[in-house]
C-alpha cells in the first residue's frame, strides 16, 4: 500500500507545520493566528521527536506554550487599551 507508507511521523509533522504556517499567513484576525501558531508548535515537537532530539522536544513542549500565553496577554491588553480609549476603527 504505497500511499499509506508516506504517513510516518516526519511527514505528518512537516504537513502540520505547513498547515499552521499557511493559517498564520492567510487568516486575518489575531486570535485565529494564535490558534494556528499552536498548531505549528505541535508539528515542531513532532519533527523534533522524529529526529530523536528528545530533550530538545521536551524543552520545546514546555516553553512554546509559555510564549503563547504571553502573546495572549498582549492581545488582551491591547484590546483593553483600545476599548478604553474608544478608538475608531479606520
Amino acid at each position: 500500500m504505497n500511499p499509506l507508507d508516506l504517513l510516518n511521523i516526519t511527514n505528518v509533522g512537516v504537513f502540520v507545520i505547513f498547515t499552521g504556517a499557511a493559517g498564520i499567513i492567510l487568516l486575518s484576525r489575531p486570535l485565529d493566528k494564535i490558534i494556528m501558531f499552536s498548531l505549528l508548535q505541535g508539528g515542531f515537537v513532532m519533527v523534533l521527536a522524529a529526529a530523536r532530539y528528545l530533550d530538545v522536544a521536551m524543552a520545546a513542549a514546555l516553553f512554546d506554550p509559555i510564549s503563547t500565553i504571553i502573546l495572549l496577554m498582549a492581545v488582551m491588553r491591547i484590546n483593553d487599551i483600545r476599548t478604553s480609549r474608544g478608538e475608531e476603527l479606520a
Binding site: 499509506l4 511521523i9 498547515t19 493559517g23 486570535l31 490558534i35 505541535g42 521527536a49 503563547t68 495572549l72
Partner: protein
C-alpha cells in the same frame, strides 16, 4: 499500522482547523489533533521517556487551549486597526 491510523487523524484535524469558520470549532479540532500528536510521539519513541514526553506535551497543550478559550471569551471581537 497504528502510527498510520493516528497520522490520518492528525492530518484530517489539521486541515479542518484551517478551513473551519467558527473559532470555538477550531479549538475543538485543535484539541483532537493534540491527542493525536501525543499518541504519535508515544508510539514512535518506544521508551519510557517517550511516555513522559507525550504526557508533558499533552498537559501543556491543554493549558494552551484553556488560555486561548479564556481569551476568546474575554475579548469577544478584537478591534483591529486597518492600515
Amino acid at each position: 499500522m497504528l502510527i498510520q491510523i493516528t497520522g490520518i487523524i492528525v492530518v484530517l484535524m489539521a486541515v479542518r482547523t484551517l478551513l473551519a469558520q467558527d473559532r470555538a470549532e477550531r479549538l475543538l479540532y485543535l484539541n483532537a489533533m493534540s491527542f493525536g500528536i501525543s499518541a504519535m510521539i508515544a508510539l514512535y519513541v518506544g521508551t519510557a521517556f517517550g511516555a513522559v514526553l507525550a504526557a508533558v506535551y499533552f498537559v501543556a497543550s491543554t493549558i494552551t487551549s484553556n488560555a486561548i478559550a479564556h481569551t476568546l471569551d474575554r475579548v469577544g471581537e478584537e478591534m483591529v486597526i486597518e492600515d
